[in-house]
């Protein structure tokens, strides 16, 4: 890995008396876009706030661009942050908002304004410079917040669910722009989200967080193909991965790997085959049609649920008896007690 842009080294953090981060190790390479993914309450924002210095650490070190900043106040860390609410100053114009960080650092007024204009152009909000936040739409505010973050050319960008307040179409559009911006700037970015699609689309690498602990760090492909834990496996992907006891009603086809006694097998809905003549018998409970695809919710004998994703045109009827088949090559095996991945 090249020189690190941001390193959390065994960082713990607490809110009041409750520990919200447990010895988190995380290294973000320079120029990398890392997405921190996790359900709400997992401590995602705390990771950012600790990196920014808004939250004190109770243990561990924080390094930015090779400097140990653990004891530095936020202003000295040379990071910038985009808040979920954007945190624009309502009483300042867009230009003043963008230039704020420069002006409080005593950058000459004209230089600050020029750089603010340049930053605004970069994110495409140069036409809004004289407006005030109250007059902007959600997407425009988002752009202003981005411009404000990048005007100072910080070592690390911290983005706290910046897309969550936008409607779906805008979110998709901004997602692409954000990725393009990152590629253009080559900046180090840490992006927090609970949206797995956003994470998969945007990230160079994803760190999955659960209850203040890192479950897995890897490229989107690694996260998708080889989830390290049951949690990651089920959190990424929609509908979530099917999970059954290894010796249960459904036996995958092909050569089984060596299995311990207590194991679970997991397979994504895409891997399920309803057309095979063999496999475990199941009853179709309900069907959700989402455009070309249909999700078929089934119950195996013994009551275990399974979801299958099939082309809409080939969906079974509700109440139909089908046979559920899956292959070992599409199956993940987890330890039933620890939830950790066993093979491969």
């Amino acid at each position: 890995m090249s020189e690190a842009g941001l390193v959390l080294d065994g960082v713990s953090a607490a809110y009041r008396t409750e520990t919200v981060l447990h010895e988190v190790d995380l290294a973000v390479a320079r120029g990398e876009l890392l997405v921190v993914l996790g359900p709400s309450g997992a401590g995602k924002s705390t990771v950012l706030r600790v990196a920014a210095g808004l939250e004190p650490v109770t243990a561990g070190r924080v390094r930015i661009a090779g400097r140990d900043v653990t004891d530095q106040r936020p202003g000295l860390r040379n990071v910038s942050m985009v808040f979920q609410s954007y945190a624009l100053f309502p009483h300042l114009t867009v230009a003043e908002n963008i230039a704020f960080g420069l002006e409080v650092r005593d950058t000459p007024h004209r230089v600050a304004r020029e750089r603010a204009r340049a930053a605004a152009e970069t994110v495409g909000c140069a036409g809004l410079l004289d407006r005030r936040p109250g007059q902007l739409s959600g997407g425009e505010r988002q752009r202003v917040a981005l411009a404000r973050a990048l005007v100072r050319e910080p070592d690390v960008f911290l983005l706290d669910e910046p897309l969550s307040n936008l409607d779906l179409a805008l979110r998709v559009e901004m997602r692409a722009e954000l990725r393009a911006l990152h590629d253009r700037l080559g900046a180090t970015m840490v992006h927090v989200t609970h949206d797995q699609t956003e994470a998969l689309v945007l990230a160079d690498r994803i760190a999955v967080l659960r209850d203040g602990r890192i479950e897995q760090v890897g490229t989107p492909e690694e996260i998708w193909r080889t989830p390290a834990t049951v949690f990651v496996a089920r959190f990424v992907g929609s509908p979530a991965m099917n999970l059954l006891p290894a010796g249960g009603p459904l036996q995958p086809a092909g050569d089984p790997p060596a299995l311990p006694v207590e194991a679970q097998i997991g397979f994504r809905p895409e891997a399920v085959n309803l057309d095979t003549g063999h496999g475990a018998p199941a009853i179709v409970d309900r069907i959700e049609v989402v455009g070309e695809d249909a999700y078929v919710y089934l119950t195996l004998e013994g009551g275990k649920p399974v979801v299958a994703r099939v082309p809409t045109t080939r969906r079974p009827d509700r109440g139909a008896a089908v046979r559920v088949g899956v292959r070992w090559t599409d199956t993940h095996v987890f330890d039933a007690t620890s939830g950790r991945r066993l093979a491969p």
């Binding site: 106040r73 942050m81 100053f89 009483h91 704020f100 409080v104 650092r105 005030r132």
Partner: protein, 321 residues
Amino acid sequence: MSAGSEAGPRAPGTGAGSPAGPDARSRRQLALMLAPYLAGLVGLVLLPALVTLALAFTHYDLVRPPAWAGFDNFTALVEDPIFRIALTNTVVFAVVAVPLRVLLALGLALLLHRRTPGAGTARAAALLPTAVPEIAYGLLWLWLLNPLYGPINQVLRVGGENGLTALGRTPPQWLTDPTDARAAIILVSLFTMGETFVVLLAARRALPRDVYEMAAIEDATGWDVFRRITLPLMAPVLALLALRDAIASLHFTFVSAFVVTDGGPPPYATTYLSLFVYQTGFEYLRYGYAAAATLVMMVLTLAAVLVQWRLVRRYRRFYPR
């Protein structure tokens, strides 16, 4: 009032949610709900005030029937040295005490709005003097300010000799020196800014937290944060409070001047308009004249209010909703 960054609430009843507004039955009920207040407002304030203000154009001594006087009372006011002094005293008080009160309240709100050891107690302490009934408060200060035996001057004299302070100076002559007495009245008024304090405390707490975190990331210093964020965000509330205080300052000088200094030390050092009106109206039986002074007082207040209101309006444009 809160200057939050998110879209503000719609005015209910006027919003798109209820295009027809309340129906007739509801309107009747709402009118009934408003009725007691309207009766009180009109019957106990507006009509009596109109009567008094009409009497400003008469010679009226509270005893004989009023006689039309035109603008006599007003021309007499212009030439009345005591009125001029009272007016000056009032304006000086308002100009000095109102900003001091608001600034003190703001300082306390900013100091105490967060959880720190002692902050809760300090908040309560800052509010307590406001809870003391006016007359009792006047009595307390009458004693505190006693030039020889009052605790304030006794403390000031600690370490000094022969009735002087440790610095070898005479302690302030609160009740006998005109300047010191004016300062005393201002001091007395400073302790009762509790209402302003509470409102500012609430306003400060309503400010969005992430804006401050943003500023911290930008390494804005305390002064920058205060000047560029806190102050502008709280400015509308501050302006309204200053406005209210300016109006109220015409009234809250009354009891302290009435009980503590009795308008003195001579000549008229703490005779404020409120006391002037009371004296001329009720002690010298020149009610028409006092009414004229009241009218002048109200016109001045109104002018001050309008000026401040325009400033607030100008500021309000920053927050289109």
